[in-house]
């Protein structure tokens, strides 16, 4: 049986990514640990994405509130506005928007950085000087994306909820403490936990794909550009796929 070339390429790539992920789990627990490189990556990946995540979160919160208000007025439940936006932001909008921004900013920069290191033989140079480049470059970055994204999501949610508060206040006046009480009275542990947990998976997928694309970059500047680009495309797609799986899993586990 012969497969169509596109299908074959897709399956080969999926297999290669699975293998790459397997190698990550083999190397992550084996010493030597690259602590200082990991801390440095956390700073680069986490801290530097903060302004962008904060800004987009703020705008999303504000816009979402303004968009929801007319519909809620139609149904005569305008007072439920804080509860509605709170749930929307914490359960879905916050994690997914933050992850997509993260895939765009961090996924592409990892893909481009490792890609250019690959084509200029810097990765080979590390290997011959006795440093395991997979550990030094891939493991540190994937761990950093995995642990930084959930933190960014929490901060993004907070800023987004503040944006939503301003949105509520455009046409009505609510005190911050009343708004805050309304949001959190309607949020339960089962809203927060699954959203937090899935952010780890988003971060992991974005990191693995960026590193994979960079490590397998083809020669030339065009190859590097393609790695950066496909890191974002595939990373973003993975965010939605994981989101789809996460909603099923939480449903089965009864987190509703």
């Amino acid at each position: 049986m012969t497969l169509p070339p596109n299908t074959k390429r897709f399956l080969e790539e999926a297999g290669a990514i699975a293998q790459f992920t397997g190698r990550f789990f083999r190397e992550v627990f084996r010493p030597r640990y690259e602590w200082s490189a990991f801390i440095q990556q956390c700073y680069m990946i986490g801290y530097k994405s903060l302004p962008l995540v904060g800004l987009t979160g703020f705008i999303m919160g504000l816009v979402l509130t303004m968009q929801l208000r007319p519909s809620l007025i139609d149904y005569g439940v305008e007072s439920e506005l804080p509860a509605m936006v709170g749930i929307a932001i914490v359960r879905e909008i916050g994690p997914v928007i933050t992850a997509l921004i993260f895939a765009g900013k961090i996924g592409s920069s990892i893909g481009a950085e490792l890609g250019s290191m690959k084509v200029t033989e810097q990765i080979d140079a590390m290997e011959v000087s006795g440093t395991n480049p997979f550990k030094y470059l891939v493991v540190t970055r994937v761990l950093a994306t995995t642990f930084m994204l959930p933190i960014l999501v929490l901060l993004g949610d907070a800023i987004s909820l503040y944006g939503a508060y301003l949105g509520v206040n455009i046409k009505a006046t609510t005190s911050f403490s009343l708004y805050y009480t309304q949001v959190f009275n309607n949020l339960s542990f089962s809203d927060v936990l699954p959203a937090f947990v899935k952010s780890f998976f988003f971060g992991f997928a974005i990191g693995i794909i960026g590193c994979f694309k960079g490590f397998h970059s083809s020669k030339g500047t065009e190859g590097v550009g393609r790695s950066a680009n496909s890191s974002v495309v595939l990373g973003s797609l993975m965010v939605f796929i994981i989101d789809l799986i996460a909603v099923q899993v939480t449903d089965i586990l009864g987190f509703n």
């Binding site: 290191m117 810097q122 080979d124 011959v128 006795g130 440093t131």
Partner: protein, 245 residues
């Protein structure tokens, strides 16, 4: 010749990529203290050959022995241990462009941070840079350096662990004739100073004539001819002639 110990011995090396057979039974012997040039056309498999020697590529067939150890039989730890004794100068220099010159030179030392103090590290870095005459660039980024300077920094990084064998991949390609001559002279001086053996991949005849004791011609995946520069130059073989034109 067979009495002297071999630094590198390659027997019947085969390496291909899919249907593209690059090396087809290549043999090579590098004696200790010798500087051997490998000459071949672009795309003839010169880089593939030295990447097999350092274990960056796995041969399809054949045996590579470096300092008495068979490369393919070593586990990662032993391979890393052996690699300390081999310096590799990349064709593209492969300087880490996100690091300063100092950090570039410190990188090969990081594996040994437990045995080497900060002061010793600094001394090694400065010594290596002085060897190539670029001590003043220690805090610059690679991007701020000229092509010739980058090649020197790469050479300094290669030499920092005082390797016994150095593999040069086209050390003068892409440099102007004057800088090429400077790099060749520097290679010569450093080989004398540290008493290294080396394989010099090149198609720059001036560089080969200056730096090599002996040369091998890589044609169609095999060692087509070998001997001293003048011997090969005097050859009337139509395959060899074009290389000396």
């Amino acid at each position: 010749m067979s009495n002297t110990e071999a630094a590198i011995l390659i027997q019947n090396l085969y390496k291909g990529f899919g249907s593209n057979q690059v090396l087809k039974g290549f043999n090579l012997r590098l004696n200790k203290g010798e500087n051997l040039a490998v000459l071949g056309k672009s795309g003839s498999g010169k880089s593939v050959l030295i990447k097999c020697i350092i274990g960056l590529m796995q041969p399809d067939e054949g045996e590579i022995t470096v300092l008495g150890e068979s490369i393919s039989s070593l586990n990662q730890d032993h391979l890393d241990h052996l690699r300390v004794k081999i310096g590799f100068l990349f064709q593209s220099n492969a300087l880490y462009d996100s690091m300063t010159v100092r950090e570039n030179l410190e990188f090969p030392l990081r594996r040994h941070w437990m045995e080497i103090s900060d002061k010793e590290t600094n001394d090694l870095v400065m010594e290596s840079l002085e060897n190539v005459g670029l001590a003043h660039t220690v805090d610059l980024m690679p991007i701020e350096l000229s092509g010739g300077m980058r090649k020197r920094i790469a050479l300094a990084r290669t030499l920092i662990l005082k390797p016994e064998i150095i593999l040069y991949d086209e050390p003068t390609t892409g440099l102007d004739p004057i800088t090429s001559k400077e790099i060749s002279d520097l290679m010569n001086a450093l080989q004398k100073k540290y008493n290294t053996s080396s394989i010099i991949i090149s198609h720059d005849m001036n560089c080969i004539q200056r730096t090599a004791d002996r040369m091998i011609l890589l044609v169609d995946g095999i060692a087509y001819a070998e001997g001293e520069f003048d011997t090969l130059k005097a050859s009337t073989d139509p395959v060899i002639l074009p290389y000396f034109e």
